[in-house]
Subunit: 610 residues, 2 copies
Amino acid sequence: MIDHASTDARPSTSVEDVTCGPIYASHKTYLGVAAPGYDDNATTPPPFTDNTTDGPGVTMQVPARRIELTDGTSFDVYDTSGPYTGYTTAADCHDLAVGLPRTREEWPHPRPVPASVSVTASSSHSSPSPVATSSGAPAPAPAPLVRTQLAWARAGLITPEMRFIAAREGVDVELVREEVAAGRAVIPANHRHPESEPMIIGKRFMTKINANIGNSAVTSSIAEEVEKMVWATRWGADTIMDLSTGKDIHATREWILRNSPVPVGTVPIYQALEKVNGDPAALTWELYRDTVIEQCEQGVDYMTVHAGVLLRYVPLAATRVTGIVSRGGSIMAAWCLAHHRESFLYTHFAELCEILARYDVTFSLGDGLRPGSIADANDEAQFAELRTLGELTRIAKAHGVQVMIEGPGHVPMDKIVENVRLEEQWCEEAPFYTLGPLATDIAPGYDHITSAIGAARIAEAGTAMLCYVTPKEHLGLPNLDDVKTGVITYKIAAHSADLAKGHPRAQERDDELSRARFEFRWKDQFALALDPDTAREFHDETLPAEPAKTAHFCSMCGPKFCSMRISQDIRDYAAEHGLETVEAIEAGMAEKSAEFADAGGRVYLPLSGA
Amino acid sequence: MIDHASTDARPSTSVEDVTCGPIYASHKTYLGVAAPGYDDNATTPPPFTDNTTDGPGVTMQVPARRIELTDGTSFDVYDTSGPYTGYTTAADCHDLAVGLPRTREEWPHPRPVPASVSVTASSSHSSPSPVATSSGAPAPAPAPLVRTQLAWARAGLITPEMRFIAAREGVDVELVREEVAAGRAVIPANHRHPESEPMIIGKRFMTKINANIGNSAVTSSIAEEVEKMVWATRWGADTIMDLSTGKDIHATREWILRNSPVPVGTVPIYQALEKVNGDPAALTWELYRDTVIEQCEQGVDYMTVHAGVLLRYVPLAATRVTGIVSRGGSIMAAWCLAHHRESFLYTHFAELCEILARYDVTFSLGDGLRPGSIADANDEAQFAELRTLGELTRIAKAHGVQVMIEGPGHVPMDKIVENVRLEEQWCEEAPFYTLGPLATDIAPGYDHITSAIGAARIAEAGTAMLCYVTPKEHLGLPNLDDVKTGVITYKIAAHSADLAKGHPRAQERDDELSRARFEFRWKDQFALALDPDTAREFHDETLPAEPAKTAHFCSMCGPKFCSMRISQDIRDYAAEHGLETVEAIEAGMAEKSAEFADAGGRVYLPLSGA
């Protein structure tokens, strides 16, 4: 239910309508997956060696999109769109003011387990240590009990979310648990966002993409942002980030969270800054902490925290071509300089961990000093911060909090792989989550493309989630068309990386589409495309007639001159004549050569099937 | 002058109008470069050790586009657009029926030099040898004298084209000569296309892009194709290929050639097939040869020849997911199977070399067996043909003919680099010219992007020219919007590769644009963009007011919340307070910490510049 009793003013508009209905030639389908219960009365102390099954279990509904093909078969694809593509029309949509069913609340979860605090405090520098807890006592303290996917995975416990994900990804559930336990994958799933369909971010799984939405002081309304969320997930966004900075931040987020089938991320410092009217120097730890708690309570699944922007790193950015381009990074840098003190995000980091652990909110440790231009890529400021993010990763994990690491930015192709290598080395292979990177600065208006080039490359090297970039990057806020273009472009980058990494099921879709292409099953080619509507529309521009959809040629060559058709003729001819190996054809060639001479050297012979 | 006495019917439409006028905030400029003459009466036999300068020289006009910046400076960029962007409006355009000035005819060229035939015939297989000359005699024959850039370069001669290119690329002319002499670069410049502005294709130079145009039996007219040529070169196409397959092939090509400032490539087998009404089996060497001569006479600068599709390779494609997708490859495969004989392109290859050498037409050895899907990438059929292209490369070079090698196609990212490695190994590092490759099959409608990902990667690995792919690939013929999108997308891929390869001048433009971005010089950011019009249009969508063009914020953050602005504040603050190193700021921190305590621990201090 939408919480109108928020700290913001009641929003001036309600959200009446979002895009509903199936995607071309496909329908929503669900796979029933059992989630056994847990014995809440078990006296065995954690860690368990296996799940008990005495408690009541449930059957979870794992979503997919089933594409119906004209040859009578079907092809299922991973689906992020929630129930919206299951509704026939917008009229069937659930009440947006109530929100989606709180499904995960009904799932059985293990009881709390130790957070496994066993951190070694880093003391190689003069800054205040971030491992001090809120009580002021230095670590270690007795390990608190927490309910996070990380702690459960370390305890050997398999959660319903892990089973859901295993079915969704088509992998063994033990792989899911292992990767989460190792901190190489995260499951962003705040207990207070029970509407979400669990997903995993980690390099052993399908590469994920995030779509940023959110209003600003200049433009856009709540209704627009909710529609952007529905629209982005329709086309494949695995998570969305609400980066609102204008009015109605709390209410906008509430509408989005209650209706989002995917995890939602935020950057709490944006709302904190609104609370102090945009003056970075006026920020305080207490105000920030309360904002984080507000957002945790609301159900935000992961939060960008720029805790690695240390006071001593700020001057490293002063001589850059583009300084600090991260909003969060620049806010914290301004605060540090204004107060000549270390960032409160760093000094209070352990307390922040305690808060996030209570909700199982995942850290997305922000790269506040990421390069904003090719000139600034892989510089001292960037890598100094990355090292600190590694230190913070260990602290967060010791508190049982899941962590991913944000990455650049603007990086030329030859410097991309080093980013992954250092991130993995310094941050214990925590999932890397990068914005592009843009491989060049010279194409504003096309930065979805400049960045897809870098994104595909960095994902191939091991980045687990890619934050999309739209054509409006650097120029304005994306509209719905831009959001779709950004999402499809990033699905391309992510899928290209999955192919290159040899992800088990990735190539199946390419092969299915290529077969449809070769066999001139035009409708199937559209249906299997990432964006069927655009593919069909482009085909119709040149050959609009319905018979062209089944024609054995395309507009590029025309009916009499088609390589695919000739190629099929060749295949038929070769099969008919047993010409399927080099040896066979060479033998046939010799034979025919004799025939050719015997027949008087006639050059022109009829072409079979032409 | 347009040759209306062609083998085709007179075109039904004349070409009245093409896009003229300068690109946003820039104007055409020319650099005068001297081309000294040659002593035609020199008795010293070639090779010369240096050019003689007794003959009359000329001053060549090397084009560039000068971008005027609002800070009073300017920035010159490589320009492919010919005089069209130098005209104020279309009314100033030269008479398209007459064509561009035949500038290169006035340049002094060296006399003919030996083609340096020293080929070792390959005889490791049973096919007829392609080294037999037209007279039927096996090689070697006495080296004929030719007038090609390759032969001149090998003879130590520097041509006007090489000087022009050195000035255009900003490199030493000796680098140009060396790379051409080694066969690692080509200068496609048919003596019969004197209207063209010389350019070079080779991995030591800027990565080039080609735009395909051409009508088909289904759609498009001569006027449309001429406009596409002008339009494609306006946005940066370094060469264009006329792939027309419908009516008026000869006339269309004539209009294009006489008005094209860039080299023009063709696939002669397309026109040959038209002459036999689309029946591959009816093709003959003689008909093909005459078509090639017709196109050489007309001025085509490079020709795709699928001479590597050998009879014994055809069955290798029969079991592929997408068979043979190259039109030329499928035509030749059909011919081979129909006749049970080796391809006439292969058996008559030496004769073809003799023809091309007379005009200095460059071979683009076609990859008729390139993969048409991810499933077929890097397979036996593809690499068998590539090996044969290596054999043909050596033969062509022995005839003094320049050669580049065409490459795939559809290739997953992890298999891309191997293509370059094998091409360089087998084809003596002849310039690689690839179509994409597409890194995935699943995004028809977005194949400019799927292929830009592969193109950037393969160019970084050493590919010298990229053939663009438009959003309409696999679906229809590109319109003007698609051509522009394809060209800009490929300029991005090429430039990204140049950055990654550390091309000397590549990053200058990124840095210039990034400085403009950081300093909120919006107009300069547009002007330095690959597509200023789109960048400006996108910015205007959100902030249309003219004052926003000079505003120190953008629509993403709004006026009070801008990372760039805060970043500038930090820079100013750091400079004012001498906080420019880690040491300084740590010293400052200690001092301030003491002040902080002394002042009673006040947390809130004013932020300078906020």
